[in-house]
């Protein structure tokens, strides 16, 4: 991290250095580290949303979390969501990037349009998708009806609504995968392809031996970023199904239900702590991976 350039770094300026980085670190400690520890403490109490009374209850909340079928179901469903949504985004995004890698007229415009969905508000767009997917007057079913196909109840059918949310997530985040994959593809030196052409390598062989391995590190980065995000899936579920729908409840919406609808802060905090362990594990993998990538690029 720039250690080679220390010659020109200001020496003895540690008071200045701390006054520059200090405010940021203090804010992060006050609004992230402290609440996190507070949250751990709350998870051992029976505190509720209304009133200030709270009593130490030991590990009772954790016992409840691990024996709660709702938690197990939400955990499985969130894992399935991460797997399916991120998997589909990876495949579609990579396909899109492969199609967009060569230059053509209007490429910049096409790219800008394709990338827009990932910058929009999931809560607002999720709500709007509820109109598109509405079983009775949604445009999707109207089009399906016009061409004589069945018109399923996308957002009310128990077996379908989870997948509808996956589709909305794929709409929002495929551009993200495409953007990162495109960067990986554009960085492949053309002499590799020229060499493969001289060797008369088959198209599949070129893909498997050059294209895929050369883009894999960046795709890995994209998958990790998306997975940590999808694990927190909240906005889309709230916008389409609400927090207490047994068919779509994710870890985040379950936690919201427990804390803000049932008012059980202690139990909700225990939920949060368990989820946090999973997130920390993923985030650790991510930061290690970034470090590894950077070192690989520097050498």
């Amino acid at each position: 991290m720039g250690t080679t350039a220390t010659v020109t770094r200001h020496r003895g300026g540690s008071a200045i250095a701390w006054s520059l980085v200090g405010p940021t670190l203090l804010l992060l400690i006050a609004f992230n580290v402290f609440p996190l520890l507070y949250n751990v403490a709350l998870s051992f109490t029976n505190r509720e949303l209304v009133g200030d009374e709270s009593r130490w209850v030991g590990t009772a909340n954790y016992t409840r979390v691990f024996s709660d079928p709702l938690f197990a179901a939400a955990l499985r469903r969130t894992a399935l969501f991460v797997l399916c949504a991120v998997g589909a985004e990876l495949l579609l995004g990579f396909a899109l990037a492969l199609a967009l890698v060569r230059d053509f007229r209007l490429k910049r415009t096409v790219l800008a349009i394709v990338l827009v969905p990932m910058m929009l508000s999931p809560a607002v767009m999720g709500l709007y998708w509820a109109l598109i997917l509405n079983g009775n007057y949604g445009v999707l079913n109207q089009v399906l009806g016009e061409i004589g196909l069945p018109q399923p109840q996308w957002l009310t059918d128990r077996d379908l609504k989870f997948w509808s949310i996956v589709v909305i997530d794929v709409w929002m985040w495929t551009p993200f995968m495409a953007l990162i994959a495109l960067a990986g593809l554009s960085a492949i030196p053309s002499h590799l392809y020229e060499a493969a052409e001289i060797d008369r390598a088959s198209r599949w062989r070129v893909f498997a031996r050059i294209t895929l391995p050369m883009t894999a590190p960046l795709l890995g980065l994209a998958v990790l970023l998306r997975a940590t995000d999808a694990l927190k899936q909240f906005d889309l579920v709230m916008a389409t199904a609400g927090p207490n729908d047994a068919a779509t409840q994710t870890l985040s919406t379950l936690m919201y239900q427990v804390v803000f609808r049932d008012g059980k802060i202690g139990l909700g905090s225990a939920f949060a702590c368990v989820v946090l362990v999973v997130v920390i594990a993923l985030a650790t993998v991510f930061t290690r991976y970034l470090d590894h990538l950077r070192r690989a690029r520097e050498t």
Binding site: L96, L221, T228
Partner: protein, 287 residues
């Protein structure tokens, strides 16, 4: 292969753009046309005579009706948009200022444990908001910050610091140190060199960082709905709160409002398009 390529490109374009196009069409409809059983997609000057016609009467009524207060809400769309603007702008300014200073510190000075601090800063980005929302709620109740512009702006500032520091560090590291040294030789103080030399050189980076901070504050929903459910309500929880209201969803107004709400984001996305990659990967991948 050429054909396949173009099919993929066209499908990608349609998939990305059609929902937004439909949003535009819905925003110029009467409510009855947004919940009609028949596909209505051709805007016309007059209402069609046949009930099954694909045409609908175009109207700007929904944009005018954005000032109405819907059932279940206390204020009109404009009021909530203004809340989003205040909170978004305040938090963006604060996170860019703090993030730039912090990144400058890490970029140009020796900070003990620099690498650990930087990864600590990055790791805060992965925190699920719901893991801290209860303690923050209790803190905000005690400090009387619940339902205020300041409270949410402060939270978004902190939330965006990791992005601001990492992005700005990437941009500042690219500015040669020789520039500042030359300025110091010319008689500028260290602070003067920062203001007169470094900041102008970093203006692209600052603009890109500001756009990304603004977008993430603008779009945020979880904290906004839990902390600011009564006062200073931003647009995403306002729209979400219209669900299940007794008059039914005012779809044309929602489409019009959502369109107004996402337009600045679309414009900003296009403006920073060459830096998008950097923004979404915390400055670790550069094009």
């Amino acid at each position: 292969m050429r054909v396949v390529r173009w099919i993929v490109i066209v499908l990608g374009l349609l998939f990305a753009a059609l929902p937004l196009v439909w949003m535009g069409l819905s925003s110029i409809k009467h409510r009855s046309d947004t919940i009609s059983q028949h596909l209505r997609w051709i805007p016309a000057a007059e209402a069609p005579t046949e009930p099954e016609s694909p045409a609908f009467e175009a109207t700007l009524e929904s944009y005018r009706d954005l000032q109405t207060v819907h059932a279940g809400a206390q204020h009109s769309f404009w009021h909530h948009l203004w809340n989003s603007v205040i909170i978004g702008v305040l938090s963006t300014i604060a996170s860019v200022v703090l993030g730039t200073l912090c990144a400058y510190g890490f970029s140009r000075f020796r900070v003990p444990g620099e690498k650990d601090w930087l990864f600590f800063i990055l790791s805060t980005r992965f925190m699920p908001p719901l893991a801290v929302v209860v303690p923050v709620l209790i803190m905000y109740r005690a400090l009387d910050l619940q339902g205020s512009h300041l409270g949410l702006a402060l939270l978004y500032t902190v939330f965006n610091l990791s992005l601001a520091v990492w992005l700005m560090k990437g941009f500042l590291d690219e500015i040669p140190r020789a520039y500042e040294e030359a300025a110091v030789v010319d008689g500028y103080s260290r602070f003067g060199a920062f203001v007169r030399v470094v900041l102008p050189e970093a203006r692209t980076g600052i603009a890109v960082t500001a756009v990304f901070c603004l977008i993430s504050a603008w779009n945020e929903y979880g904290f906004a709905m839990t902390l600011n459910s009564s006062g200073a309500v931003t647009v995403p929880p306002y729209f979400a709160g219209l669900q299940g209201n007794i008059e039914g969803m005012p779809w044309p107004q929602i489409a019009a409002g959502a369109l107004i709400f996402v337009t600045p984001i679309v414009v900003f996305t296009i403006l920073v398009r060459s830096h998008l990659l950097r923004g979404v990967t915390f400055g670790t991948v550069k094009q």
